[in-house]
């Protein structure tokens, strides 16, 4: 077929994606260059986990758009705010990554510059750990909940779930499709960062071919294939790879390593060391000056891929990539003439499912719709708040089937007023009576206050972005608030700002990866304050085991009259001491006062009544790594001169 009859380069290029590489891993220049390049050709770049400079939302003077079209939501939830989630077309939940399945990332302290610390709501120079799992995903239902949350906070964005090639990925992909994801990304082992551990690079993961074909086949068998778009990455290097990936079922293609090389990466593979000699993945000013990449180079690379794809398509008589998607029957196993190579039977990869020829591949279909929640009503009722900025107060009864309340409203707040708005903390107050469903106030934005009289399920204040949430038992409840759990598991996971006051205990994994929210509760289960990097947690009751593991920032205060809390804390990474400085005492007291005012907490009131004696029962907890960065010493200098003041 003459090459002129094949679909255009422009149309092919739109299928390309540069996979998630975070600012932090990449230098700001490299990150922005990728975004600009992909935007220029109507393709998509992925922000990676670690937030993105809000300044990227504005075009550059020359007209380039430096904003990533895909925003990643990974286990660390760094910089995942309501604003970030709204500045994109697509949200990607990174469940795992091909180069290091089952492992989280780590950003060494030396790579955490002022900018990175600001984007990630953390402290300059302090190591950041992405936990291996998402603390809010323990089952496919949990993933469905996160997808639901994200579809609420951004009512336009499609949701991608990034999986890795592994045996059984088909089953997972089917579950993900049923969970209403729009795009499934199958990541292979060949790609990946130079910062991955050598053991992972060499021994972990499977080729994308195996994962992709399994996902494609299982989805097709279960009539789910049309619901989702399939994407693959992890070692695509040539136009031929792209066409093969298409035949195995992929509609979109991730190009990571090659794009970096186009920008000047020379495969030194010391990405974790902050010494990238070409300024691609370093935060060192001097080395960043060596960066020679430009958007043009990346555009050229993708153009060459598209050109080669066209040539291959022309040579097999196909007019467009769509014609060969899922056509694994066009591939055959090559015999190498060596028994050690040819005893591998690749036919399972090349199976075509019955009826697969009827599948329509349409990348531009609308996203899979999800049910409305209470917010549909709230937004209608709050019309004057949104149109005129009037202060409003709304009141509803709530049931636990109403999930993710306040999130769609927050999305509206961010798009109407911005996230750094001038609204009062209670500008729009939503009073709820009853038992709130999961993800109450997820990503709640500044200006929104949610008051619950009753209780709330899991994920309260997930990704809290500046809003206020209060939860108190009903006035007529006979229960002793401080002894009963009032909010569920995984509260404030990935919160970046805002307040939560709950007159009662929280469940497990409380305030994991909190990086800015301030919270008062009356007790929590195991794994409280894990991986926390900012914010303040005041806990007026018993804690569970493994408190503060991996915590590298923020502050926690425990009310511990029996002196048993230290048993639950790892003293190697955390410092514990009595409240020893007026600044910290004032912070603690003020939070408890607000807590009492907001929730009518009896326990809080009791403590305040006897403050001078009770304050000795508090234990202040601070990560060792933070000591050098504190504005005020933990204790007055005379008492403990080992701790440096600023």
């Amino acid at each position: 077929m003459p090459i002129e009859e094949v679909e255009s380069i422009t149309s092919i290029r739109k299928r390309f994606v540069t996979p998630g590489m975070s600012p932090g891993a990449l230098s700001p220049e490299a990150h922005m260059t990728l975004n600009i390049a992909m935007n220029r050709i109507g393709a998509k770049s992925d922000s990676g986990e670690g937030g993105e400079d809000p300044a990227h939302s504005h075009p550059l003077p020359n007209g380039d758009n430096p904003c990533a079209k895909i925003k990643q939501v990974a286990s660390g939830r760094f910089g995942v705010t309501a604003e970030y989630l709204n500045a994109c077309e697509e949200l990607e939940i990174k469940v795992a990554q091909g180069a290091k399945p089952g492992e989280g990332g780590q950003l060494p302290g030396m790579k955490v510059t002022d900018l990175i610390a600001r984007l990630r709501h953390s402290t300059k120079g302090v190591t950041l750990i992405s936990p291996p799992p998402h603390h809010d995903i323990y089952s496919i239902e949990d993933l469905a909940q996160l997808i639901y949350d994200l579809k609420q906070i951004n009512p336009r964005a499609k949701i991608t779930v990034k999986l890795v090639a592994s045996s059984g990925v088909g089953t997972i992909a089917a579950g993900v499709a049923k969970a209403k994801a729009d795009i499934i990304l199958v990541s292979g082992h060949n790609g990946g960062t130079g910062a991955s551990p050598a053991t992972s690079i060499k021994f972990a993961g499977l080729p994308w071919e195996m994962g992709l074909t399994e996902a494609h086949q299982v989805l097709a068998m279960n009539k789910l294939r049309e619901r989702v778009t399939l994407r693959t990455d992890g070692g695509l290097r040539t136009g031929r790879d792209i066409v093969m990936a298409a035949m195995m079922g992929a509609e979109e293609y991730g190009i990571g390593t090659a794009a970096l090389i186009a920008m000047g990466c020379i495969m030194v593979r010391q990405c974790q060391s902050n010494t990238c000699p070409v300024g691609v993945c370093t935060q060192d000013e001097k080395l960043r000056a060596m960066f020679t990449g430009s958007a043009d180079k990346v555009v050229n690379l993708i153009t060459f891929y598209a050109t080669e794809v066209r040539e291959v398509l022309a040579s097999i008589g196909a007019r467009s990539l769509d014609e060969v998607i899922g056509r694994a029957d066009l591939l055959t196993q090559v015999s190498r003439g060596d028994k050690s190579l040819d005893d591998l039977d690749l036919n399972p990869l090349l199976i075509t499912v019955d009826g697969a020829d009827k599948i329509v591949y349409d990348r531009s279909k609308p996203r899979n719709a999800v049910m409305d929640t209470l917010d549909a009503e709230i937004i209608r009722d709050a019309e004057r708040f949104f149109s005129d900025g009037e202060k409003m107060q709304l009141s509803y009864a709530v049931r636990n089937t109403l999930r993710t309340v306040g999130t769609r409203t927050s999305s509206m707040i961010v798009s109407t007023f911005g996230m750094r708005n001038k609204l009062q903390p209670d500008h729009l107050t939503v009073r709820l009576t009853g038992s709130a469903g999961q993800s109450l106030g997820a990503f709640a934005a500044p200006g929104l206050k949610i008051e619950v009289s009753g209780d709330a399920n899991d994920y309260v204040g997930k990704g809290l972005s500046g809003g206020t949430i209060t939860v108190r038992p009903p006035m007529d409840s006979p229960l002793v608030a401080a002894d009963n759990t009032i909010i569920g598991n995984t509260v404030l996971y990935g919160a970046t700002d805002g307040y939560l006051f709950a007159a009662g205990r929280a469940g497990e994994r409380f305030a994991v990866r909190n990086s800015g929210a301030k919270v008062v509760i009356e007790g929590c289960g195991t794994n409280g304050c894990e991986y926390m990097t900012g914010g303040v947690a005041v806990i007026l009751g018993r804690i569970g085991a493994n408190f503060g593991a991996g915590m590298t920032g923020g502050m926690a205060y425990l009310y511990d009259p029996d002196g048993i809390a230290p048993d639950y804390i790892n003293p190697e990474t955390l410092v514990t001491c009595p409240i020893g400085h007026a600044h910290w005492e004032a912070q603690l007291k003020e939070l408890i006062e607000t807590h009492v005012k907001e929730t009518g907490s009896l326990k809080g009131a009791e403590i305040l009544n006897h403050w001078e004696t009770e304050k000795a029962n508090f234990l202040q907890i601070c990560p060792t790594e933070m000591l050098a960065h504190l504005k005020y010493p933990l204790a007055d200098v005379a008492e403990n001169d080992a701790i440096p003041a600023e």
């Binding site: 060494p108 030396m110 130079g194 020379i266 495969m267 030194v268 593979r269 010391q270 060391s273 010494t275 000699p277 070409v278 300024g279 060192d284 001097k286 080395l287 060596m290």
Partner: protein, 499 residues
């Protein structure tokens, strides 16, 4: 992170061992770089970026595991560093001194490419191997089994010696024949002492001799001994003669006295340096002292000649090259050294309009005319007619070819003209009287790229005589590879014989 010893290029700059200053070094034939102190070697090694894809290694003909032994050096594990380095290289201290690292490992070093200044790989290689010799870490050649098969190696240059070393370690009986009175080939007589101290080469020769390699010197094959005699004496033969025929000029007054060949000149100087008596040097024919010297050519041999002339006390030394600095074949580092020592480079100048041809394959090479001073009755050269050139478009090799600028000629006074125009293979089949030894159209011996086997069974060839004039490091690689394939050949042969 605290234990990270490497990747220090961010904070530590590139440093070479101290170079003796030009005034001090230009009167003797000792090496111009001093040794790295241990601390310095450790520090410089720690600059290595430990690349996932080490271009230094892929651009080293021997594929030396450079990042590994830099790492070991940086950690102070010098003996292990030496062991790692000698696994792939028979003569690391020689490569460390004379390899054009700026074109090989160091030139492709990732941190050099990105503008941080290369890791000084050569200097560190030299440091660790010299330290190994001092500390006695260089182990004697002591094969665990002796094998009856014997191999004759013709030519005691780097290729022949590398093969000899490897074969002897496998237990074969090895005899090395050479036409000179010392082993080492160009290492001993070609390369001047200021680049490679002669005791370094003699130390290796002694090491081989003690290890049981037999040297038969002063034996010119085809004259003193026939090739067939050598073949008859050994189970396999390796030809490693190098290329010794000087490219020449067909020029007016070419036979004028005072026009000499580079190799004759360098050999004489090296022999004097080694304490030999050289009549041609004594009578001034090959001595630059007090003379205006003109060297023609822009390769590494020309660089050796100009710098030797400086050390012999020449009044002036000029190097004529018909392209410019950026387009010369020789190492830039050598040009810089020469300039520091007082050599004047006359770029874009070819000696004379030319009638005639340049011999051999040099059809694309210099077209040069040396116009001797036509004083009657005195055929001694007096001046060189210089034609000024300019550079045209790049040719197929990427170098820009020179074009003549009409009417810009001038005469350059000269008492000694040294021709350093490159080398070509001698006509081995004719000189040695061998039938069936195939050669290429350039006169080099045809040998398999992998096995180095020639058209004659059991006869192998390596180094310049196969490649044309090339680097020592390539000769070492060839020698090592040929040794392996000879061993395989002999092992198979004995197995067949046993059956």
């Amino acid at each position: 992170m605290a234990t990270q010893k490497m990747l220090k290029f961010v904070t530590i700059g590139r440093e070479m061992p101290e170079k003796r200053d030009a005034a001090d070094r230009s009167h003797d034939f000792h090496e111009i770089y001093r040794e790295f102190a241990e601390a310095k070697a450790t520090e410089q090694a720690s600059r290595c970026s430990q690349c996932g894809v080490p271009y230094c290694q892929s651009h080293c003909p021997l594929h030396n595991n450079i990042p590994d032994w830099l790492h070991l050096t940086a950690e102070g594990r010098t003996e292990e560093a030496y062991l790692r380095s000698q696994e792939t290289n028979t003569f690391p201290e020689i490569c460390g001194r004379i390899c054009p690292q700026d074109r090989l490992c160091e030139g492709n070093c990732v941190i050099e490419q990105s503008g941080h200044g290369t890791v000084t790989i050569g200097a560190i290689e030299k440091y660790i191997t010299d330290t190994a010799w001092e500390q006695g870490w260089v182990r004697a050649i002591a094969p665990s089994v002796e094998r009856a098969e014997s191999i004759g190696i013709i030519g005691a240059g780097p290729g022949g010696l590398a093969a000899a070393d490897r074969l002897r370690r496998m237990g074969f009986q090895v005899t090395v024949y050479d036409r000179h009175d010392r082993a080492g080939g160009l290492l001993i007589y070609g390369i001047p002492g200021f680049k490679l101290e002669k005791d370094v080469v003699e130390r290796r020769n002694a090491h081989l001799a003690q290890g049981g390699v037999e040297f038969v010197l002063n034996q010119n094959v085809g004259e003193d001994i026939s090739f067939d005699a050598i073949r008859g004496r050994h189970d396999a033969v390796l030809i490693a003669t190098g290329v010794y025929k000087t490219r020449d000029l067909d020029i007016d007054n070419a036979d004028a006295r005072g026009v000499v060949r580079a190799l004759d000149y360098l050999t004489a100087s090296n022999k004097v340096d080694l304490g030999d008596e050289v009549p041609d040097f004594e009578d001034g024919e090959l001595n630059a002292q007090g003379k205006n010297v003109v060297v023609i050519g822009g390769g590494d041999t020309a660089m050796d000649c100009v710098r030797t002339a400086i050390r012999q006390g020449a009044t002036s030394v000029k190097c004529l090259y018909r392209r410019d600095r950026a387009n010369m074949p020789g190492s830039q580092r050598e040009v810089q050294n020469a300039e520091e020592e007082g050599v004047e480079f006359v770029w874009l100048s070819a000696p004379g309009a030319f009638a005639g041809h340049v011999t051999g394959e040099a059809a694309t090479a210099q077209e040069i005319d040396v116009d001797g001073d036509p004083r009657v009755g005195d055929p001694r050269v007096g001046s060189v007619r210089v034609h000024k050139m300019r550079l045209g478009a790049p040719d197929v090799s990427g170098r820009r070819s020179p074009e003549l600028i009409e009417g810009a000629d001038y005469d350059e006074p000269a008492d000694l003209v040294i021709k350093a125009l490159g080398f070509e293979p001698e006509e081995i089949p004719r000189l040695w009287g061998v039938d069936g030894l195939e050669v290429t159209r350039w006169g080099t011996i045809k040998a398999d790229f992998q096995t180095h086997a020639t058209s004659l069974p059991g006869v192998y060839a390596v180094g310049d005589i196969v490649r044309g004039a090339s680097l020592v490091v390539w000769a070492i690689r060839d020698g090592r590879e040929a040794a392996d394939s000879i061993a395989e050949y002999l092992t198979n042969a004995s197995r067949i014989a046993a059956e």
